[in-house]
């Protein structure tokens, strides 16, 4: 296999979602590069072109890295050293195209130093490769890799870290790259020896999670039941309430965590623990005076909270309602849940009650957060305009409605992977814009925000209505989809 063929092999068997991720990354890469080249950058004020580039780079490299690492793992297991060499050679071609060439262009154009741009790209690539070889316990952190560029950008804005155009950047970035390279080298045995048996729980690395998603054909979701890998999480589920005549509880028990009925302290743990990181991040930003903008804090927190709710509820529903049917087949023939409309009501309550509690907890946390930084909010309320505040709130509500629509679609056996990614992309842009928009509003940006909001809500409403109709049409909620 020649390096060029190995490079082409990255495109083989990409799922629709991955193609969309690539397309989105390409758009962001393009727009970031364009604004960089035109010198029309907003460093220090809004979203910098480097943030765009970094976000695009992370998206691009994370797909490439997961696939490359899987190829290497498989080639090693099949004892095919030539395939490993070809994969690595393909990686070099990839690196030249994605990192070295743009860095040269940027250096020639004079927008940034060659060494700095090269280091910037290398960090992104190595970061994407380092995340999948983390142990599985870091799954939460693995999902937040996308936030790292934002953090770096904020720190750079505050002068805590050097920015890409600063003199110290090269040294800093090359040190970071060296550290990640050493980490990768250090983890090489863990990667090669990891069990890739898909019937087992998927190995000890984060990569195993990606492999399972790929094999289960349900991209974008971790369909493993996270719950039973954490001993103790299932012990405190209260079974006593689930008995004939109590269909809601029965459905909840059949679904297991995170829907199963648990005691109040367990509920607190269920909702607050995942939010803790978001809250801490937000507090960190505020206490370090990294941000002086209510919208930013609330959105950083809100986006995390929404992702938390999505990751908490949606994967389990998808595995129950779109899997090979084993769950539905038992639910559909199990007494104690009732038939037809009774069962439908039971399922809706069983599934959406935990989501409502989750949203409420999220809201309370947010109000508390806002209270904690009341000085800033007071200032915002005086100086900000109604449009800004309402667009921040709208961007926030987007997330929760999105989760509800995803759950409704899961109930009728649809994992809307493609829409999911498109809408997430719009949401990310919306959030990026509202953050950038907060200090200086312009009618053009406002129009863009409204367009994006519509672009988000119209397909969302369509997906929601379609799912609701289908759910209502069915004879009972456990009918197997096609």
């Amino acid at each position: 296999m020649k390096p060029a063929q190995a490079f082409a092999a990255f495109g083989v068997g990409l799922s629709a979602t991955q193609k969309i991720v690539y397309a989105g990354a390409a758009v962001m890469l393009f727009s970031g590069t364009m604004s960089l080249l035109q010198g029309d950058h907003l460093d220090g004020k809004g979203i910098g072109p480097f943030y765009f580039l970094a976000f695009a780079g992370i998206m691009w490299w994370s797909v490439a890295a997961n696939r490359t690492l899987m190829l290497i793992q498989d080639a090693y297991r099949l004892r095919m050293p030539a395939a490993i060499r070809a994969t690595l050679a393909g990686l070099i071609v990839h690196f030249v195209c994605i990192v070295a060439a743009p860095a040269t262009v940027a250096a020639v154009h004079g927008s940034a130093g060659f060494s700095a741009m090269l280091a910037f790209g290398t960090c992104l690539a190595l970061g994407a490769f380092a995340a999948p070889v983390l142990p599985r316990t870091f799954s939460l952190a693995g999902g937040m890799v996308g936030l790292l560029p934002l953090l770096c950008w904020l720190l750079a804005n505050k002068g805590i870290l050097p920015g890409v155009r600063d003199s110290g950047f090269s040294l800093w970035a090359w040190s970071a790259a060296a550290a990640m390279a050493y980490f990768l080298y250090h983890r090489r045995h863990a990667l090669l020896e990891d069990s890739t048996d898909d019937t087992a729980d998927g190995g000890a690395l984060l990569l195993g999670r990606y492999r399972r998603q790929l094999l289960s054909g349900r991209s974008g979701w971790d369909t493993s039941l996270q719950d039973f890998s954490t001993p103790g999480a299932t012990k405190r589920i209260r079974l006593d309430a689930a008995k004939p005549g109590n269909p809601v509880q029965a459905v909840q028990v059949w679904l297991g965590n995170p829907f199963a009925p648990v005691s109040v302290p367990m509920q607190a743990q269920r909702y607050l623990l995942p939010l803790l990181i978001s809250v801490l991040t937000a507090f960190l930003f505020v206490s370090l005076h990294l941000v002086n903008n209510m919208g930013l804090v609330v959105i950083i927190f809100g986006q995390n909270a929404f992702m938390t709710l999505r990751n908490l509820f949606v994967p389990r529903l998808i595995s129950a309602f779109t899997g090979n049917g084993g769950d539905l087949e038992l639910l559909g023939t199990q007494p104690g849940i009732g038939s037809g409309e009774t069962a439908k009501r039971a399922v809706l309550v069983a599934v959406f009650k935990p989501l409502l509690i989750g949203c409420a907890v999220q809201f309370v946390c947010m109000v508390a957060l806002a209270q904690a930084m009341s000085g800033i909010i007071g200032e915002q309320l005086v100086h900000g305009n109604v449009f800004q505040i309402s667009s921040v709130v709208a961007a926030l509500v987007c997330g929760d409605v999105f989760v509800a629509v995803l759950m409704l679609n899961a109930l009728i056996g649809r994992a809307i992977a493609r829409w999911n990614e498109v809408l997430l992309l719009i949401l990310a842009m919306l959030i990026a814009l509202t953050i950038g928009n907060a200090p200086f509003a312009s009618p053009y940006v406002n129009a863009l925000v409204i367009t994006l909001l519509l672009g988000f809500f119209v397909p969302l409403a369509w997906l929601g209505v379609r799912a609701w109709r289908e759910f209502g049409r069915r004879a009972h909620p456990f009918v197997l989809g096609s």
Binding site: T199, L225, P244, V253, G256, G326, E329, T333, G336
Partner: protein
Amino acid sequence: MENSAIVVGDAGAAPICVRRLSKRYDARQVLNDVSLSIEPGSVLGLIGRNGAGKSTLIRTMLGLIEPDIGTAEIFGERALAMSDRAKERLAYVPQQPDALAWMKVGTMLDYVARFYPTWDADFARNMLDRWQLPRDALLGKLSPGERQRIDLVRALAIRPQLLVLDEPAAALDPAARRELLAEIAVRAADAGTTVLFSTHIVSDLERVASRIVFLHQGRVLLDAPADEIKERFARLIVPKDAVTSDKLAVELHRRKLSDGSAALVIERQPGADWPEIAYVPGARLEILGLEDLFVEVAQ
């Protein structure tokens, strides 16, 4: 007098009755005009190649799939709107049971027990011991085979009036498979349990089934009492000069052989003689075992 067919939970109603079921997935006709009624106390074996539509038929019978055309009834109730009372009399083991993955084996059985008034806890305990299944393991951590054995224990402990098993033999070794078949036979003898099971292990069918239904490309190709199959169906090798171009009325399947002769699968009525074509000079009649019949017809 009222129409007894629509009385809910009609005691005399057939445990399973489906009429004219058709189901299409995209371009594929998975079920094509299937009608079946299973009498109480019978053991019906459903056989067919992979993809013949066995699982789809079973799921449609149980109201888990909405058919495009046709109706399915369980104990006289519409399968898609089965009441809890009907569900209490029914136990179903799907091909890949993966519900309640987060529970321990023992907890799951105790939990399921409270929904069934006829639950037999002693039986469940004994079967777990006999099949050497752990009580303390998490269901999600068991192998698919162990998972299906647990589910068989769950289904049998319900002591259902209707037991539906989708490919139950796949996860069992020969000794455990024999035990399961013996259990089915005893249940049918003692309690008149109606059993529907799908399989492609033909010898299981020959033992325990009282009736065999052969599903081929979504159609019922053959439906006969198990005892009669070997007397009613045979393979007939017809020599080249006697091969007719038209399909015969008694002919179930035809395969051209390389020398121009044809292998037909023919049918006769119980107690009647073989049709005339069996006696043409050079024709050879072979009584087939179920497995050979299956292979011949499925070609």
